[in-house]
Symmetry: C2
Subunit: 230 residues, 2 copies
């Protein structure tokens, strides 16, 4: 799919999904500005991973912006007083839900896109494996694209913005197969909600389980480095 | 208008409009959490004004969150290399337009609202005097409300959010008359894009002209302290 390529902002967490999205945006012939956030997440080692992924993935630039989402509280991912549950405990919208996170991330991406002349924003939102997060659904992405084109100079006076969520309907195994085909080195990525300070995955959180299962279903060796367990 | 009063987040810049909105939200019987942003704006003295206004306006809490909007560049309000124009130079979308500002502000307000149990968010957007800003139009506000209710746990599992922009169709004079009726002390507010370090208004920027004209049309003495000019 080559639709007027040019520059794109790619939201990059350092995880498996967004690393794949960066590779897909590059395949779409976009020059990519990778955008990561330091938002008080417990798993801040993912920012180190994001830098590795941006470099390896051929981003022309990598920006890290600091956001005070952690100050809002209310999520196990930013609030040390809330435990990150094992996968088996999850039901409905998980406690790892961060209020308005993708809305905030896309808003910042929109500002950056407008200033840097990007008309495309890529996000690794996925509705299949993470159906518990309301801001990972196709209708959310569509509503944000509509908003973006009402909110901005580019939307009003120019050609407008496209919000691209190419993983939205893919299973984790499909995402992994797509990334492998595009040469993504998943060894560089970190998905764990609760990694060690060295970046080793816990192997038991929701995100680790989904990731491990994805490699298994995709029939691809899992490159993840896990913490030793008793 | 008393529609299930409870708690509300009120975006508070320290200017005339948002001070009026806080008074209107209080009249609507909401307990108000005032929310301001330190985003690298040149006129940071407005944060001092915001604190005064929050105190005088009866907010139960005042939060100031730091946002890296200034790092994005592209606006005369955050970029010292772009001159703030006199009112006479403005045409179309002004150079004081900050890319995606209201989208970003409302996104943060949404996160705070969800965490603190507020279902209402007040914003002083106004389409009449500031028709140049795309993110001050009613269709933008409606699109954000729709997005908010797709993006969040409260939107999916609860009663959802209301984005209230009570000034949207009001002239500056109407806003001033409304605020005076509600006891707002406009002497506490700062509207100027280019104030002195002591908080004195320049008297010649777009925002100063609109404000001064508003007091004149409303037939209310202008309490603004202006810088001495040669």
């Amino acid at each position: 799919m080559v639709d007027k390529p040019g520059k794109a902002v790619v939201l990059l967490s350092g995880g498996l999904d967004s690393a794949t999205v960066l590779a897909m945006a590059r395949k779409d012939h976009f020059q990519c500005i990778a955008l990561s956030f330091d938002y008080g997440q417990r798993h801040r080692i993912e920012l180190t991973a994001a830098k590795r992924v941006a470099d390896a993935g051929g981003a022309i630039e990598h920006r890290i912006l600091t956001l005070p989402i952690g100050e809002l509280g209310g999520s196990a991912l930013t609030d040390a007083t809330i435990d990150v549950p094992d996968a088996s405990e999850s039901e409905g919208i998980p406690v790892t839900y961060v209020p308005a996170r993708n809305t905030i991330f896309l808003s910042m991406a929109l500002g950056l896109a407008e200033v840097t002349g990007c008309r495309n924003i890529y996000i690794g939102a996925n509705a299949v494996d993470y159906s518990g997060y309301p801001d990972c659904r196709p209708e959310f992405i569509a509503a944000f694209e509509k908003l973006a084109n009402l909110a901005t100079r580019e939307g009003v006076e120019g050609d407008g913005f496209r919000i691209r969520a190419p993983l939205i309907d893919m299973s984790k195994a499909e995402i992994i197969r797509t990334g492998i085909d595009l040469g993504v080195d998943y060894n560089l990525t970190i998905s764990c909600y609760n990694p060690s300070t060295e970046g080793l995955a816990c192997g038991i959180c929701d995100s680790c389980r989904l990731r491990a299962n994805g490699f298994q279903v995709a029939n691809v060796p899992d490159p993840t480095s896990y913490q030793a367990r008793d």
